[in-house]
């Protein structure tokens, strides 16, 4: 492969998958680290362009996942993820009507109660555009095992949601406009 061909292939890879890889890394490491990690993921992709298989996105997620394991970043990552998850719950779309906002916040809050692994399993397909077999490849197991693990994670999400719904947090008083 000539360098020009490689550059074209790489640009296509980047244009097609950057948003997904970035989103996955925001989910797993928070916005503070996502940019750096996404850059590094694509750098690895460039250096190993010949190794990129047809299932490009799953492969890129696998690279990103390996980078996440870097222990040098684990403390920074914990803080960055905590900030990220907190921002999801407080994030509101102004066009949403009130009860949609509440339900949205409840689901997200339930999700943030779960472990990092459960959150990953639950969102690979729902948020990051992977097929179930790609998701299985990313987490490194067979499709059958992936479904078993997803099933367990879904039950834990359900339980967390029930808890959240039963004991909704007291909403913060809005400024100068108490009912």
């Amino acid at each position: 492969m000539s360098k020009a061909d490689a550059a074209t292939q790489f640009t296509t890879l980047y244009d097609t998958h950057f948003n997904a890889v970035y989103g996955y890394l925001v989910n797993r490491a928070g916005r503070q680290l996502a940019e750096e990690l996404a850059s590094e993921t694509f750098l690895v992709a460039w250096r190993r362009l010949d190794d990129v298989p047809a299932a490009e996105r799953a492969w890129l997620f696998g690279v990103a996942r390996n980078l996440l394991r870097d222990s040098r970043r684990s403390a920074a990552r914990a803080a960055s993820v905590a900030t990220e998850l907190a921002s999801w719950v407080s994030e509101q779309s102004s066009s949403d009507v009130a009860d949609v906002v509440v339900e949205r916040a409840t689901v997200l809050r339930a999700l943030t109660q779960l472990s990092d692994n459960d959150r990953e399993l639950l969102t690979l397909v729902a948020w990051h555009g992977l097929s179930t077999s790609e998701a299985a490849r990313v987490v490194g197991c067979s499709r059958a095992t992936y479904f078993v693990r997803l099933h367990r994670a879904r039950r834990r999400l359900e339980r967390a949601l029930a808890t959240e719904s039963a004991y909704p947090p007291v909403p913060a008083a809005s400024e100068g406009n108490n009912p």
Partner: protein, 384 residues
Amino acid sequence: MKPRSTAYAKLADVRPGTLEPPAELRRRVGGLIRSVARHLPLGAVAATGAAIATVAARHVLLTAAVAAERAGPGHGNYWYTRELHMSIDQVLEDSIVRQWSELKEITNSRLIPLDRNVRGEYLIESRFRDESWHEPTAGASTVWVTTKLGARPARPEDELAWRRAGSPRSWAVEGAELEDRDGNVLGTDAHLVHAEEPEPVVERTYPNRDDSIYWLAGHGVSLQDLAALPTDPMALKAEFLRRFTGEGSEGGPCGATYWIYDSARNLILEMPVPPGVRAATFRMLADLPEMRVIHDVVDPLGRAATAVAMRNPEITDGAYEDRLLIDAKTGVGLGTESYVLERSTDRPWAPPGLRLFWTAVEAAHWTDERPEPVPDSATNVPSG
């Protein structure tokens, strides 16, 4: 109660907006990655743990390249540089100093027989400032002004040793080894350094033999040669390698990568090259294997700097790390340092971690003014 599947099904509808990269971030990372990719050999396998450091290291040099590109070329009749230099020496024992003085009285020779393993007393650092005004045409001249700034104990422990020794104001330090015509070592040259130099300022004027008045990659080059250097990093690297003989710019064995690094360092710190060539030099450095970037350091003058560090792997007696200091935001070269990594038999007194030399570039620009050339070269050299 809702069926179990609902919560999972709802997830797709509550995907946080923060998972989408802002357009500006997408552009920024895209630019960074593409530019890094352009300068990375295809297929090179990165050590994964080091990859992010590599990205950051390259990024800082590519930033410097962009800044260097934006800088104006500058104008003037003379290329002016002002550099402050520091070096560390071992103070020789009193007996040697006496011996040296006696020899000098008798023979007016500086040569002393010196056992390399002789114990020195402590370390001192000497500083001097070099200013030069290059007029880049044949038939013109270059004016050099050297200001000797004296010496002082190098480290706190040296200061203690110096006080114990009665706080002398001058010291004998080891110079170069001298050989006879058959290569037999006759002894070692020694010289005296002073806390306050008696005649600190030396001005010299050198007439230009031709227009090749700059020294780059082991060769004299003219201003036109510098202006004609490639603005493509790969071509620039090839140009440096073309001049590579296996010997370093100051003698001794030298690896090819270190040669490129050394040439690039020289160019960035001292050479009047067009902005595009400076930018290419930073991009070339970003591509060098074995290059290490150290962020957030301080240069010898206290300026915030980024260090681009490299070892010359061909040096087998001891080991040193050279650091090129730059202001990455402006693409300006700030100086260079040399640290001891492993003790050598050549300088058994220099422990790992010691900063053995540094040069701080205080100015490097075109100017229209310079001191009057001294009619006869070496006029003002102190006698003795």
